[in-house]
Symmetry: C2
Subunit: 235 residues, 2 copies
């Protein structure tokens, strides 16, 4: 029989790798990546920072772990990485998989930054890429073209693009600052000014530059997929 332990107050759930990773993701989701320190992580788990080192080798292992967990979320959202979806053409199948990955990424805005710093590819990520590779391969690609195609997709195969010069909080002063600078340099930036004027004409409250929205993602994705399809046919 399970008897009540005679510890003082709470039964205290024991620490596990998974609990550590979950807490880490929670912190990053709520307070951003900078808030994810070993000390905060321990605090979130009601434990001393040093206790973490009994379960994980170091902070890198934590980051590896949360990326693996994210890939797990993608697998779950996709209903598994089973090889044959249905009778979709390769392009639709690939886009579907990628947009599923993207839906998970949008829940974890910090994830791209962590992906970039990983040096070893996680097992779940390997299976993810194998599934993508399978889709194009079964779609009639040579391994060589499939390989190039994966590189061409880059981070987009995981559902995100790393935007350059993107302010963290676009509603803040960064955007105004950039706009002010552009106005000051207006004579040196003829085309940017022209573009701004034309686009603001059509859409008064658009701001150029920090717009990695779904429109841009889908535009680039389709551009690459269409290009690959043409190369496949030509080969």
């Amino acid at each position: 029989m399970v008897t009540e332990t005679d510890t003082t107050t709470q039964p205290r759930i024991p620490l596990t790798k998974d609990r550590v990773f979950s807490a880490a993701i929670k912190i990053a989701d709520q307070d951003g990546l900078d808030a994810l320190t070993m000390r905060h992580l321990a605090e979130e788990l009601g434990v001393e920072a040093m206790s973490l080192y009994y379960h994980v080798a170091n902070k890198e292992a934590v980051l590896d772990g949360i990326i693996d967990a994210i890939m797990g979320e993608i697998e779950e959202a996709a209903g598994g990485f089973g090889p044959k979806d249905d009778n979709l053409d390769w392009k639709s199948a690939l886009r579907q998989r990628i947009l599923t990955a993207r839906s998970v990424m949008l829940r974890h805005k910090w994830a791209p930054s962590v992906f970039e710093t990983r040096t070893t590819i996680s097992p779940v990520a390997m299976r993810y890429f194998d599934a993508l590779l399978g889709i194009v391969r079964e779609g009639g690609f040579s391994y060589d073209l499939a390989h190039h195609g994966m590189h061409a997709l880059g981070s987009r195969s995981l559902g995100f693009t790393q935007e350059l010069f993107e302010p963290e909080n676009p509603d803040k002063t960064d955007a105004e600052e950039a706009t002010a600078m552009m106005e000051q340099m207006a004579d040196q930036l003829p085309y940017m000014v022209g573009m701004m004027m034309e686009i603001s004409h059509d859409d008064p409250d658009s701001t150029i530059g920090w717009c990695d929205d779904d429109t841009e993602f889908n535009f680039a994705l389709d551009l690459i997929l269409d290009g690959l399809e043409r190369l496949r046919i030509a080969s």
Copy 2:
């Protein structure tokens, strides 16, 4: 008349922003980005860490400064961002500009990581993008398509791709580790194994995955440029 100062030994070159940025780039080039700390930077300049704060607001300002300097190198390598190069078609002109930027990036392997963390775009970078925009605009693009095209190029417009899961030193154990893991999961990775077998057949000492070499960069670049050209014609 300029008299000899009565300071003890060396005349001591005074600190300037530019000297700070140059030293910072030198450190990053030689010892990597992690070695770029305010304390090391000061040491490199023969000064105490706190002295730096008289010339720059904080470390972010240093990072902004070295990115500006890198953009300056690109401008120099391109012989200026003058609007009209010659009688090249837009595609050749754009590729040329981008490959020039890439040649500078290859001298500063750490630069992509710093670019990703910038939240404000530097003035020189603005002029760079204006020049790119000018090339496609004069090549017959609408501003709308030009804008989408820039987003589609992403970091490639600056001459680099952020590779996922790229080991820092590919000659080290990371590659072996990844290969070992793949062999262990071979039954779950049918397509990766198939690809490896075929490619290693053609090229015995190739290793899959960490190959963001010029071949992949150019493949993806041309794929996107060709796609944009087709959209331009269709529009």
